[in-house]
Subunit: 227 residues, 2 copies
Amino acid sequence: MASRTIENYLKQIYLSRPADETQWLTMGKLSAAVGVTPGTATSMVRAISDAHLVEYEPRAGVRLTPAGEQLALHVLRRHRLIELLLVQVLGLDWSEVHEEAEELEHVVSDRLLARIDEILQHPAFDPHGDPIPTAGGVVRSQDCCTLLDCPLGSPTNIARILDQSADFLQYVNQCGLLPGADIRVASRNHQAQTVELLVIKRGENHVVAISFAVAEKFLVQMYDRKK
Amino acid sequence: MASRTIENYLKQIYLSRPADETQWLTMGKLSAAVGVTPGTATSMVRAISDAHLVEYEPRAGVRLTPAGEQLALHVLRRHRLIELLLVQVLGLDWSEVHEEAEELEHVVSDRLLARIDEILQHPAFDPHGDPIPTAGGVVRSQDCCTLLDCPLGSPTNIARILDQSADFLQYVNQCGLLPGADIRVASRNHQAQTVELLVIKRGENHVVAISFAVAEKFLVQMYDRKK
DNA sequence: TAATTAACTTTGCTTGCTCAAAATCAATTG
DNA sequence: CAATTGATTTTGAGCAAGCAAAGTTAATTA
């Protein structure tokens, strides 16, 4: 069995993997994601590679093997199901659950996880809109784009929020930009680097302005995901 | 913060402490309870004693300080609230929850614990009838005796089950000896070392025979705890 | 009292994970 | 092409926790 340290490395390797599948994840990025010094990451990755969960190429980086990816997805499944349970059943605030799940994901048994999945009726997304991998390790991907490159004017709704720090999520909550919220991108100002949004909240229209950097943290869907 | 190893040692020291408060818990018993070799227990206890959570007297044994006891009770509170949550809210079988809680008890935050306590409406007992210490570290003790020394014939009900291994609890479940069950001790046979019980289950009387050793694993109350 | 025994402690070693600092490599820049 | 820079790897060390086996101590038996 993989230690909780190894589970964490695998999860981070998965989450930080470069968009281009042929690319390797560098040790610098991995060590930052895991929160250890680069040297530590190198030696841990060497060890994990001995267990055939990753491929490691010195000075190039690291990449998950199919076995490693399955394990990473399993951890991610636990994490996301737990988050949803904490929000929907235990009534925690969604800004708190990420931290909590970070610990719990390493100790819930398969049996308990199956019960959670059942109680939540086999959900496909966690409270932040992240897809929950199936028990078989399949990720049902959404067809999304960020608030930076989605079409202007057309109505859409928020699918996913990529920054899960408590502070940020509290702000998100406050201006009604939760997953599922109906919005429209009113305008983009490339000089000011801002995006203006129309948020439909309790029938009323609100205007919210965010920077390009923040706009990239929101994914929206082309077609309404509720149907 | 105390590591999960230290939390475990403190919990076991509390649970295995001798009935007589002036006595020390020996290293032999502790090492067996924690599941390590005696030498390991000795050196861990030395370390925990440096943190002033226990008193340690070489060749005599170990005993919790007030600070250590508070921490032990806190761990126990987490353990027992989690067990109850798993049974009542998540619908796990009560024979499974001990193992599960053994892991979870070290990772649930105070905030989550408070929510669990609220959802369960500040319960006083876990599914096995063990008392749940308050957030302030107070144990509300019950007035109990075992099926070995309770009076013959008089109606009573099961308050607590001391053996929490899955196999045993499945048997307990099967013959209806759950906490709260209405029973009477019909007879004791000192030659055969057995106790005969009358179990009132769905209006009907059932006869169950158990050995003295098993009888000691059940605590019953003098007065009906339901009122 | 001396010998035996059981419980406990000490010692030395291992594993897993980490860091700091030194060494190395690769990719620019001058 | 040499020098500098930035990223990466190696080295040496430390800490927490564990085991096995050798050494002590105290209590019991003879």
